[in-house]
Symmetry: C2
Amino acid sequence: MEKIEAGEPGGTRLLAEADLGETKAKILDAAFRRLATEGYAALSMREIARDAGVNHALINYHYRSKDQLVIAVLDRANRRLLERQQRMYRSPGNFAEKWAAARRFYESDLASGFVRVQAELWAASLANPELREKFLPRLLAWKRLVHQGVVEALAILKEGGVALPRPFTAEVIACWISEFWLGMEFSDLLGAPEDRAAHKAALDAMQKLLEDLDARARRQAGGAKAKRKKA
Amino acid sequence: MEKIEAGEPGGTRLLAEADLGETKAKILDAAFRRLATEGYAALSMREIARDAGVNHALINYHYRSKDQLVIAVLDRANRRLLERQQRMYRSPGNFAEKWAAARRFYESDLASGFVRVQAELWAASLANPELREKFLPRLLAWKRLVHQGVVEALAILKEGGVALPRPFTAEVIACWISEFWLGMEFSDLLGAPEDRAAHKAALDAMQKLLEDLDARARRQAGGAKAKRKKA
DNA sequence: CTAGAGTTTGAACGACTGGTTAAACCGGCC
DNA sequence: GGCCGGTTTAACCAGTCGTTCAAACTCTAG
């Protein structure tokens, strides 16, 4: 019997992917694929096994149950998003550039089925408390990230003498943005062409807004430098 | 064999609910309830029948299959939303009042499980083309309604001499609003308390924005009247 | 009262579900 | 060689699934 991993035998390795074992990885990949194509409601262990080219009893050997397998898929998705988020956070770049980067990630995630898988996991979370318990924190962490970005943006505005009146707080604007993004994901999955076009325009508009903000930030930095020179 | 309804025997009756037959209605209600509590992935005809207090073979007699039953649930939801939309459209009231009414509907739909059912149907639509074919038009019609509201609001602003710069068109703003609302629904279903609070603040902010808009509209109307009196 | 359409019933069908088990297989170690 | 922990296999389990069907029932029109 394989030891049921508590922290992975590899220990402190950050990218736990590597010491997953070929079979476990194949199963996880296949589960992801089935989830992305057939959805959670039609998810079958035997079909996952077939897709992975593996005996279906192996799924119960490596993962303990169907639920645990789905949770493993979610865990991997969470790990992947966390890494990306950290990389993006550390990377330099102004607001407009980060927005553009987020858009590129989104396009690629949509094409790879990653967005679909997340949506299926979300749907499954509605009925499965254990899944929700893992899903929700990730969603909230992402929203906090958006909120933090908005706070920084408003700080720049304030420095320039512009202050948004109550009740338009950073929380409110961050909520608008993150829920918009979420709604866009769910809409795009249904795949109405008119929606896709509208989303592009909406994202472009936000891009423009952020470019203006970045220009203002540059002006302020330049002005501060000039002022310091003068003194 | 019951005739498979094409347009309902009652003919042009608008509220087709009445001539549904007691059994058919009980089944449909039960299906809705199971969808709202257990979700689409765990939807079972036998449990629906048990919930409806009816022999489970009757479901296949009255509706042709599980898929058709789910489609019937969606159809009824669509009918209900269409009626509400028409009633709201005809009703007078300024923007802020309409927004408040929409919020009240939303709260009630969330409590009744209607939002959950719509989300489950949405998830099912991802894998079931026939369902999507019925689901998507309703979503798009709702978005058009939002767009129309934004157009009217912007007209008031323009009359007051305020014009939003490109690229902030009515389409873009409508997209922001409708996708925000959608995202809010999906978030609320997961039920994080901090989210609910944030949504309230965000909705309140929009409320405030619309109240200001309505005040401006009243001022314009008053101004126009005064001008006419003067002449 | 009877004929017959429409409805309801219980039982059954075959397919498939997630999960288990014992036996076989494989590598390295003593 | 023999042993052994970890892995893979095929067969099997009990149960549920959606669907079908013939027989029983209900009600109304003739």
